[in-house]
């Protein structure tokens, strides 16, 4: 009788040859990325109007709006993003695109923040109240039949103007005219 256990390695070689090499040579070979793959989002600062629609739908609040004086900052923290792509769906000006980028590892957490800084416009009546971003107002004026002066007016000034008009009509307010 022959000892069959000696021939076992030969058997293994046959099985291994049938399977072939399955390991991907990742660092030297591009990774397998399908069309459906969603990586980090990229915000086009030229298109973005700072409306905050993406901030409303973001499930993990990776996108946040920070109001800082005369600036409105749209902050995107990649570290918390779950790559759902809702922001890209909801963006009215298609400023957000989903990229295929996924090699995002870093040793500094500050590197995971990307910001778009918007300039806020002031109320044309009182000159103090900050209304919205300049680009958002011009977007609204181009879409809705309102005058640019009215769009630039803050909510308090709009209320005051309405009440003043009402009172003038009923003779409760007398406009002082210079003599």
């Amino acid at each position: 009788m022959y000892d069959m256990s000696l021939l076992k390695p030969l058997k293994l070689i046959r099985i291994a040859r049938r399977a072939g090499v399955v390991t991907v040579r990742y660092p030297y070979q591009p990774p397998l990325i399908t069309d459906e793959f969603r990586g980090r989002i990229v915000i086009d600062a030229k298109k973005c109007i700072g409306c905050g629609a993406c901030v409303n739908v973001c499930p993990s609040n990776a996108l946040t709006l920070i109001d800082d004086g005369d600036k409105r900052i749209l902050n995107y923290f990649i570290g918390r993003c779950i790559y759902c792509g809702r922001c890209a769906d909801v963006c009215p000006v298609n400023a957000i695109t989903i990229s295929k980028e996924f090699e995002l590892a870093t040793d500094k957490i500050e590197n995971l923040n990307s910001r778009v800084v918007h300039q806020k416009s002031t109320c044309c009546s009182c000159g103090e109240e900050r209304v919205a971003t300049e680009k958002m107002i011009s977007y609204v004026v181009s879409r809705v039949p309102v005058s640019e002066a009215y769009a630039h007016m803050g909510s308090n000034c709009r209320k005051r103007r309405f009440v003043e008009g009402l009172m003038l009509g009923r003779g409760m307010l007398h406009v002082e005219t210079e003599k």
């Binding site: 600062a45 918390r80 779950i82 590892a105 590197n111």
Partner: protein, 166 residues
Amino acid sequence: MSKQRNELLEALKALKKSVWVFHLNTGSCNACDIEILDVLTPYFDVERFGIKLVASPRHADLVLLTGPITRKTLPKVVNTLRAVPRPRLVLAIGACAVGGGIWYDSYSVIGGVEALKKVLEENGVEIDKLVYVPGCPARPEAIIYGVAVLLGLVKPKVKAEVIEAK
């Protein structure tokens, strides 16, 4: 491609020893854990880089931390990290570990590694190097890239951007 490969081989020479990793789940949904298992399978086969999974934190160089760190697991996480010998390396994998994910403000989690750093400081446990790997879940390639960043083989691509909207 050959130039890139030569650069990588040069960088690998700097690495004296293999990296042994310990997998620490701190309340994650298991998606990142499955991706870590993918990395260890013959398909991605990180043992060709010397990365090997060990069962005890006392044998490990690197801790693969997944999950948003629930309050229940917090003492165990601190104990585990204390058991890791110096240099103590940590790889925070996935959106939960990096920034808390969708649970960042939940009552039952402490909200990722940033909050854990403070707890570790109070308990006198130092982390020598910490690398963040975002992704939900992080792709196996992203985890391999994260280890390469941690070992200094590649420079991180992502940078903080501040763009003025005009």
